[in-house]
Symmetry: C2
Subunit: 151 residues, 2 copies
């Protein structure tokens, strides 16, 4: 498995996720029961009457699945995928039972650290797509990445 040091990244690079995750109806409900117990994530009938027009996964379920897809993807920063934070994150459309999700990453910017030569930051856009190639989550985050060790 190839890991990427700060020096290996440049703006414009894209990384594909090889894996796919199907969002099962039961997991939508059990995730929501623990973390987001609102009716439109728990009950088909109530969801039909809601703004979602049918059962929809919690956005945090989508976010968590996106993280799993990223860990399984070709994006392998040295030291791991460690997010400092996000400057933007949105859910353009709901995730439905049976949707199959995958992730794409695009490096937007690479910054060395002035105070710490052993690490730097990369800004990355993460796009989570469903089986129809429709974006269900788009976010821009900043990751901490180790510099290549000097010997």
């Amino acid at each position: 498995m190839k890991v990427h040091y700060l020096e290996d990244f440049e703006a414009g690079q894209r990384f594909e996720g090889a894996s796919r995750i199907v969002i099962e109806r039961d997991r939508i409900k059990s995730f929501a029961a623990e973390f987001d117990p609102q009716l439109f994530h728990l009950d088909e009938r109530a969801a039909g009457d809601s703004i979602f027009g049918g059962l929809a996964a919690s956005g945090w379920h989508t976010a968590a699945v996106t993280m799993r897809l990223l860990v399984d993807s070709d994006l392998k920063p040295a030291g791991g995928i460690i997010g400092l934070g996000f400057e933007e994150s949105r859910w353009p459309r709901p995730v439905r039972p049976g949707d199959e999700l995958r992730v794409q990453s695009e490096v937007l910017e690479v910054r060395a650290s002035k105070s710490r030569p052993d690490q730097g930051l990369i800004r990355v856009r993460f796009t989570t797509l469903n089986q129809n190639n429709e974006a269900v989550q788009v976010s821009v985050g900043t990751l901490i990445v180790r510099s290549r060790p000097t010997k």
Copy 2:
């Protein structure tokens, strides 16, 4: 349970979460095994050698728990807590096994919709605090809120 329509919100309002959630060591590991299987979320020894200096919850675990705290809080927008997206989100410090989390919300802005008189948007800062009143997650999100029905 009192729900809040768009007209009930104004900038500066604060809502406290009454509930507290303790982040258990086993749940840190099981959440990570499903959604963020990186060693610093799974294994104490590997975590000690990582940037976290010890086992730390996935940021997405903290985000999901924050959502649960919000659903249980006094912030009750009519129609539910429905996030359009976030313009900022960061994790200023790690969440450790045994940490007890709570959430505070502050309304930053209220906007009527030009195209849809039946709903509007509120911008809210959500701060997740640990038992030492240290912020472990700070985010600013936009929620969709129904207008008060006219009869």
